[in-house]
């Protein structure tokens, strides 16, 4: 319903699209692989962004859903020879079912119960991924997972191919998220966000089935995470529990919040910011302290990002996406004085 910006909007989309398509041809393979990770995490963050930014619910255990997607797809395609595409689909369905089973009873309660339960779920599933070695390959995992391919014509083996695949999936995911956010469903999500100006009492009185809405957004965010997990697994063609630990769940939340939870661009910005800054940090550390162990880098990463996370929460609630307004808003006010 906003005023259409017509041509300008389409032109900028076209330009961005063009740049994104040309990027992998210009960059080294290492950088392209980073872009792939950015894309995958952006997909996860998009779903989580709807949950946190629109519906105001916090889940710290989304690594569980990322992992269910990843393991389902890996196991079905590796062990049972099922096409990876069906593996991804099955992952989505299974994740949806699990998320529904968890969400339905838990979302009746106040928000912090969801935080506790999802963290516990994150711990539980990470433990399961490691312990159930008869299916999951245990803590060592397994390799030689089939890559995605289009029939016999084309296999996504090279990084560049995978980049375009992830880009396409991300675009679709983004468009769907956007459609939902701008629709009556998105509006209903926002009515239950108590911290952000919602009012559950009023919403319910206007016909919004609050319980159902919360479960819907929770399941949606879980399914997005599972897609990310499956894509991850078919890219690496190796799986083990490490990338599906609690830290991944935390990281997803950090990315969403730093990028900007209330906007759909926030998760994308956040993912780019995270990987970009991470590379910068390890580069700088390797320059200053060449004989450094990876422990320093990893520890430094946690400290820096948790610090930024808290700063954003306190001072910049709209995230990086809101930074221009925060900076220029003051400039404009000064101009008027």
């Amino acid at each position: 319903m906003q005023t259409a910006t017509g041509y300008r909007k389409w032109i900028s989309f076209f330009l961005i699209g063009l740049i994104l398509c040309l990027l992998p041809l210009l960059l080294s393979q290492y950088l392209v692989s980073i872009l792939i990770f950015i894309g995958i995490y952006a997909i996860v963050a998009l779903g989580l962004g709807l949950l946190i930014g629109y519906a105001g619910q916090l889940s710290l255990g989304h690594n569980a859903f990322y992992g269910i997607g990843g393991y389902t797809s890996a196991i079905l395609s590796f062990r049972y020879g099922i096409s990876p595409w069906f593996g991804i689909l099955s992952g989505m369905i299974l994740t949806g079912v699990v998320a529904y089973a968890i969400g339905k009873p838990v979302l009746r309660f106040r928000g912090h119960i969801l935080v506790i339960v999802t963290t516990a779920i994150g711990l539980i599933f990470w433990g399961l991924f490691g312990e159930m070695d008869f299916i999951t390959g245990g803590y060592d995992g397994f390799s030689r997972i089939p890559t995605l391919s289009i029939g016999r014509l084309f296999a996504f083996t090279k990084d560049i191919h995978y980049y375009y695949l992830v880009l396409v999936v991300l675009c679709i995911a983004f468009i769907i998220a956007r459609n939902i956010a701008k629709s009556k469903i998105g509006r209903e999500f926002r009515t239950v966000d108590i911290g952000g100006g919602g009012s559950e009492v009023a919403a319910e009185m206007l016909g919004v089935n609050i319980g159902k809405i919360k479960v819907q957004v929770f399941v949606l965010s879980a399914v997005y995470a599972s897609i990310g997990g499956s894509l991850y697994v078919h890219y690496l063609t190796h799986i083990d529990p490490t990338p599906f630990n609690l830290w991944m769940g935390f990281l997803s939340v950090i990315i969403v919040v730093i990028g900007g939870a209330r906007s759909l661009w926030g998760p994308l910005v956040g993912a780019t910011f995270y990987f970009g800054l991470k590379e910068l940090i390890s580069y700088v550390i390797s320059l200053l302290m060449p004989k450094t162990q990876s422990v320093i880098v990893a520890g430094g990463e946690v400290i820096i990002f948790s610090f930024l996370f808290v700063i954003v929460l306190m001072l910049l609630p709209d995230g990086l996406v809101g930074l221009p307004r925060a900076l220029f808003g003051r400039w404009m006010r000064n101009q008027n004085n």
């Binding site: 769907i176 459609n179 629709s183 009556k184 509006r187 009012s199 009492v201 009185m205 016909g207």
Partner: protein
């Protein structure tokens, strides 16, 4: 007049040891405008909360058009045709004026999740229709020029109007208003009186709580007086104002 429209049969509400509503029975007929008055703490808002499913009743039954509604959650009651405004308005403060009202329009929208995901033409059409309906409701209150404003930028009167417009967007048959003119000036009260009478003309049934007698006198056909969760008196505005018990409990103390 069909008095079986809204029926409260012997309802009580306890909060721990406190009995807020005590064996109360009352009826509202279709098309009526009924007002509930009474001292603070008499249980008036609690009564509205019980009817609209915000709180569960402790005993008794509530019927609407013959159907039992006292166990239903609020969103079901909304779908049955009852809606309300809130004493503290309860607007969605991060959403614009038009968006607040559009949530009310959702009541009549039928798009499903998959349809929305892919933004099918039907979804957009329905969205456009909802937008227009919302603007129409807002124009009743002269807010159609301010649809993109945020609630925090509105004056109290407009915020209250917005709350009512939002409730009206659900196309209710029975509208409950909780102190719609609290804090407003005499002129603003006249404005609302006119709007209420217009709503009644269009077939709406109204039950509202109010302290300001200007409003009560100008629109209500019947007045019910509540005290300590019980019905103290019932009748027309004049009858009730002549009632001694009512004067002692409530009216005599009024400065206005």
């Amino acid at each position: 007049m069909d008095t079986q429209y809204l029926e409260l049969k012997n309802i009580s509400k306890d909060f721990g040891g406190l009995r807020a509503i005590n064996h109360l029975s009352l009826n509202v007929g279709k098309g009526e405008v009924v007002c509930i008055i009474g001292p603070n703490g008499a249980g008036k808002t609690t009564l509205l909360n019980l009817i609209t499913g915000v709180l569960p009743i402790s005993s008794g039954e509530i019927y609407f058009k013959g159907k039992r509604i006292d166990r239903l959650p609020s969103y079901r009651i909304c779908k049955l045709g009852i809606n309300r405004s809130f004493q503290d308005v309860q607007l969605f403060t991060h959403m614009s004026v038009i968006e607040n009202v559009m949530v009310g329009c959702h009541n009549r929208m039928r798009s499903t999740f998959p349809e929305v995901m892919f933004s099918l033409r039907r979804v957009n059409k329905e969205h456009q229709e909802a937008f227009e309906r919302a603007v129409e409701k807002l124009s009743l209150f002269n807010l159609d020029k301010r649809i993109y404003d945020m609630p925090s930028n509105l004056a109290l009167k407009d915020r209250k109007f917005l709350g009512i417009a939002r409730a009206l967007a659900t196309e209710p048959e029975l509208l409950l208003l909780d102190e719609p003119v609290g804090g407003l000036s005499v002129d603003e009260i006249k404005e609302i009186s006119e709007k209420i009478l217009k709503m009644q003309e269009e077939g709406l049934t109204l039950l509202f709580i109010e302290h300001r007698m200007e409003l009560v006198r100008s629109v209500s056909e019947r007045v019910i007086v509540l005290d300590f969760g019980q019905k103290l008196a019932e009748g027309t505005f004049d009858e009730v104002h002549a009632n001694e018990q009512v004067i002692n409990a409530y009216l005599g103390k009024e400065e206005e």
